[in-house]
Symmetry: C2
Subunit: 202 residues, 2 copies
């Protein structure tokens, strides 16, 4: 499964620093575990995911995972959480939110922190416990954004905004050597943010 | 795996008519085979996909698949083809293409023909032969659209347009009981097409 994990890391920019890790990780392996767990739960049925496999991918021992996170279920609940991503995405006034959303998605990818939302699309097409990932997305991203918006049809506009953000991540992953991957975050925002802002403003 | 397949069908509207099939299918099972093959190749590694499994999902015999399509590789090449979808998506003048794109995606889903593009995102996060699906998408959708566009940075705009179309399908699949699923195709086009048209016009 290493091939899959490596490819996923490349495609999403989700974990290319697994093994080295940002400074906060040094000595704990916590970030590497979270990234390996995201890959594992996104790509395989819940029942097939093992702490041992995640540990091998993260380069740590299974007992270290138990120490940091507890059970497999507790680890899943940790990585199925979109709240930190939503906190960052929605941290701007409504009149500039469109641009902030694009810059946040692109910069998170460029800084090797991974796409904040895209892993939910890996769960499309599967049933099993991954449906929890989709429920969390609806609660923590779409419903939260709906509550932030003013004007007509906030739920519909929130769904379409979520779609545009997922689509931005999807196309950057699909075209890893493409024009979008070469463009600056600011230039991508110039092209893509007006559409988002139009849906934000209503 | 039936649970997965059923869920995928519901999520994407890709194959809810499998088993009954449109009129053209009656007596041949061809459409049911194609839909079952799309599900199988999108959800599982190529090496794990069997004609027997696809046959069981489609409600036909494995020998009927061989009769219609030949080998597993030939069947894969058939379903990894985005050209019919691109023919339909790009069949409008540039000055109205944005609206045509949205209506085509939404109507294809509503008419149970499935999302024309979305299955490529299931292949993100995986390596193996599914990378062919992504290559085909880049050739048959993104590059073809790039060649159609006039104005500056056509490749970048084509990638972002592809992203908006994938995002539309992704959010409709993620929110199967949401406001977008209840809205008419025309209303969705009113809200979503201006953004696409802006990128088409450049």
């Amino acid at each position: 499964m290493t091939g899959h994990a490596t490819d996923e890391a490349t495609d999403t920019g989700a974990a290319t620093d697994a093994g080295t890790g940002p400074a906060a990780d040094v000595g704990t392996g916590r970030g590497a575990i979270v990234r390996a767990a995201r890959r594992a739960f996104a790509l395989r049925p819940y029942a097939e995911v093992t702490l041992r496999g995640i540990a091998a991918d993260a380069g740590v021992s299974a007992s270290l995972i138990v120490k940091h996170f507890g059970s497999k279920e507790q680890l899943f609940n940790t990585v199925a959480d979109f709240e930190p991503a939503a906190d960052e995405l929605f941290a701007a006034p409504l009149d500039t939110l469109g641009r902030h959303l694009v810059l946040t998605v692109v910069r998170s990818r460029r800084e090797q922190r991974g796409d904040p939302l895209l892993r939910v699309v890996f769960s499309l097409g599967n049933s099993d416990e991954r449906s929890l990932l989709r429920e969390r997305f609806r609660e923590q991203v779409t419903s939260r954004l709906t509550a932030l918006l003013t004007g007509p049809e906030p739920a519909l506009r929130a769904e379409l905004i979520a779609g545009q953000l997922l689509g931005l991540g999807a196309t950057l992953s699909l075209h890893p050597s493409g024009a979008g991957s070469l463009a600056t975050p600011e230039h991508l925002a110039d092209l893509y943010a007006p559409a988002l802002q139009r849906l934000v403003t209503g």
